[in-house]
Symmetry: C2
Subunit: 197 residues, 2 copies
DNA sequence: GTCTATACGGCGATAGAC
DNA sequence: GTCTATCGCCGTATAGAC
């Protein structure tokens, strides 16, 4: 509700305390769990403090604005995703790996959570964009080795193999489902052609 | 931030005052403008009241819980979208009409706004799902007349023509763009084949 | 039925004490 | 470097005036 307030700030100091502080990592771990369990809206100075058994003021000391905490969480998640994709695309069927990963429910939920977060905390948007770009470049690198097999521009292919299952997941989270089965069948047919099992 | 509180309620009376009240429609109009201009987070009892020149208590009289106000706005938006699509798909190139509409920036922004809203106001989700289903059925009805032209299952086609530009819009809102151009070129090529200008 | 006034417990952010 | 007190928002509930 105070979006404008945080958006209009120049650039104050964004971090206090050492980056290696034990307290700091304990706070991050606790915040991550709260976010996974109850959503970003449940991540408050008070709840994180309670989870890490410190005072709310101390959490705020390490993360002066709540954005800073979310950004740290988002960056860590992005790194994890890229790690996973890098490993999963080395089995000879990189396109299927991309499709399968994007089809995972957990990832879609997390994406929705961060999209919603970015939507009312303007500092988060650019971090998401940069993370999305990093992920896409990693996917692109993983499929270009065999790109002549696919008959479709690699960049378009990677986008589609991510966007389609993601949007299906989003819609299903709310209860819209018309066309999902038919679309999945279409993609499966294509994958069977270009990356037979 | 008080999601749990509103979620745990049985089912109190959800509306007071007549549905045709002049005050009620004034409140809705004002709320719509605030939402379009500053996002859903700026829609508060106090801001809406100020916009409609009434007291916050009166807004709450007509919409006892803020969800009720958002649901009224979402339903009205869905009706408008269906009206628009019904008209736009009658020019002989219904698939292009679907694609063009989903490519509009305003609609994508609004969708993101409502998705974010649904993400932390659980009462909104089902209303979004139902609205999405209504829109999709209308689109489906509009293209099935000429469906033999398309070579792809109509339901999959409608989903893709909506999902692709929507996801492109979402990603661009944050700053991810790899693959967008290539994907758009791909779709344009397909549209030129099945619905030549 | 319409509408106002007020109170409560939550929140993020800030200033400043230790 | 660590932590507290306080401020001004918020949604919601309630009591009651007209």
């Amino acid at each position: 509700m105070n979006d404008e307030a945080t958006g209009g700030r120049a650039e104050p100091k964004r971090r206090a305390g050492s980056a290696t502080s034990k307290t700091r990592t304990a706070i991050l771990r606790g915040a991550e769990q709260i976010m996974a369990e109850h959503g970003y809206a449940a991540v408050t100075y008070r709840s994180v403090a309670a989870g890490a058994a410190v005072t709310p003021g101390l959490v705020q000391y390490y993360f002066p604005v709540l954005d800073d905490l979310f950004i740290a969480l988002l960056r860590a998640d992005t790194d994890r995703i890229i790690d996973h994709l890098t490993r999963a695309t080395q089995d000879g069927r990189p396109l299927r790996a991309v499709w399968d990963y994007a089809s995972g429910k957990a990832g879609t939920t997390l994406m929705l959570e961060f999209m919603a977060l970015a939507n009312h905390r303007k500092a988060i948007g650019p971090v998401m964009g940069e993370g999305g770009e990093r992920v896409r470049q990693a996917q692109l690198a993983a499929i270009t080795a065999a790109s002549q097999r696919y008959e479709i521009a690699p960049a378009a292919l990677v986008f589609l193999m991510t966007a389609i299952p993601r949007m299906i997941g989003l819609e299903e989270a709310f209860g819209t489902s018309t066309g999902h089965e038919e679309t999945i069948a279409l993609v499966r047919q294509y994958l069977d052609e270009v990356e037979p099992l």
